[in-house]
Symmetry: C2
Subunit: 359 residues, 2 copies
Amino acid sequence: MTGDTIRGYARRMTTTTKLPPDEGDAAPRGLRGAVKITDVAAAAGVAPMTVSRVINTPDRVAAPTALRVREAIARLGYVPNMIAGGLSSRRSRMIAAVVPTIAHPMFAEMVLNFGEAMREAGYQVMLTISGYGPENEAEIVRTLLGRRPDALLLTGLDRPPEVRRMLADSALPVVEIWDAGPKPTDMLVGFDHNEVGVAVARLFAGKGHTHFASIGAADSRAQVRIQGYRAEAERLCGVMLPPITTAAPSTIMAGREALRQLLPALNRRTALACSSDLLAFGALTEAQVQGIAVPDRLAICGFGNFELGAACEPPISTVNVEGATIGRIAASFVLERLAGGTTPRRTRVPFRIVERGTT
Amino acid sequence: MTGDTIRGYARRMTTTTKLPPDEGDAAPRGLRGAVKITDVAAAAGVAPMTVSRVINTPDRVAAPTALRVREAIARLGYVPNMIAGGLSSRRSRMIAAVVPTIAHPMFAEMVLNFGEAMREAGYQVMLTISGYGPENEAEIVRTLLGRRPDALLLTGLDRPPEVRRMLADSALPVVEIWDAGPKPTDMLVGFDHNEVGVAVARLFAGKGHTHFASIGAADSRAQVRIQGYRAEAERLCGVMLPPITTAAPSTIMAGREALRQLLPALNRRTALACSSDLLAFGALTEAQVQGIAVPDRLAICGFGNFELGAACEPPISTVNVEGATIGRIAASFVLERLAGGTTPRRTRVPFRIVERGTT
DNA sequence: GTGAAAGCGCTAACAG
DNA sequence: CTGTTAGCGCTTTCAC
């Protein structure tokens, strides 16, 4: 524990970095050198509470006073301690978010837009990347709750009972994204993955396909999409090739490998649904290598609308779900609740089939 | 402000979610229902301080006492308030990280591994995605410092003076990643982007190339790589085609477009360096569409070692820098400092040219 | 090995 | 519009 007490102090002396010389009587630099609200108050000749008001509720302070305080803040380089503020006000101005991955462009977009919207409103987002599978979600949520976030954003609806209990006990606003289902914890911004699969099957059927194949990652939502696709194709009397399941998260290589597995069964015109554009691109690439004509012999539809699918040759038909939109809607729901709203917001975001060269 | 006081309370009544029935005399649920350390202490018949010890320094508590306390913690569902703990101990157990993007696989990997390593050590990472360009870095760092992180991870070395000042004043451990240069703020885990460019030029030169082209994103590090490449190629008496500069962040489409621009100048065997595998894949795709033989007429080398480059056909030669390694080393540096170390750690991580089908 | 007192830096609540 | 008082929930410090 000895080290903890000198965290970050003597250190500068051991670096070669030249520090700028002290600029006049600026911020005090000593140990625990952080300027605090009382320092600012003293410098401005007001009470600490007035400094607090200048920062949090500026319109409740007379203009000349506020000016003096702001001047002192700038001069001293005061950075309010939100940890202390949060303890006192019981508002951490922090939102906890959990997503399975940021490698998936949709989640990356979602995170980016959610974070931006929350930041504009004065909140920070604490992001945790959980990986697929809900195994350690309880652990993650417990840790997150320890920081007393003002709200949570979680992915999916597949929540262990222990987590549901913790969330209920915390009584915090919760937004669940990505999935749509009947019993969200609280608020919801998602879509029905089964419907996505159905829509893809109908797209193919509408083009006269009678033979249907699928490549799906071993991730619960991906499997729901694939099942929706297969069920609908079957309902339409399609001939089903055996489903290929690949490891989650999806990769291009897995798509190539899966197409190679599919090869022997590909003896007539076939429609192929992939649970990700990465798999679809892999399948397309391998089809080209194997000399299978796309889309004439093999039609391919992916999911996710990755830039890759739009920019490759031929461009890949896919299903578009806007991560950015999900992120912004989720942020607006959270902010509304934080502002006192009580509406139990639930929204299905639309998805859209983007037809391109592979169908 | 009226809303603030009822944040999250009456809400459950308006949802359709069925809550599980109260399980015996479990955690108190009322307003501000959070169980606190005094509740646990009372339930276990000890002082709050003993509960704190059970959580933070278990070996300073007698086994039977600890057992009773742990039992009470579990029964009440106590989640320690780290905001209160942080205020008291002056250790937030939080690390602030700033990266320009998470769309780039290397940053995604870096963030993932850094976060994992820190989490294992009991820290959380608060991530901010800044976008390219240091314009708003001061604002971001100020906000982050308000949370009193125990350390910071920042990208690049291109730091506005105001930020350098804030960092120096805070006296916190800082690790800068991605770049290598003579005057880091504190610790460093990066590589020399110029050297990367030089290495690519030499790769091409070694294969007898005499004509050199480049496609680079308008991002400072990408430009350094491209300049290193062009300077070295020139030094080796290469004939230089005019550089193509594309918008940051890089896209596949930009690579295709850039190759189209390059087309008129491509009247003999040419080597093409791209500042990202996305640009390289775009160039490759467009070359295939245009019927330019790769690698015979046009050799291509990318940067980043994205899965895309490895899995497409032909696979793209590239420069590999392990984001995961950077993340883990950065975490180890921070943890060492947090444990009391004072060594001014600076490391250059190696990069490696991965030759594949496009050279 | 355990407890009591004091206080981290801020803001809610009330008073003036 | 501004100030005073009293905590927020925990940990530090010191006593036992």
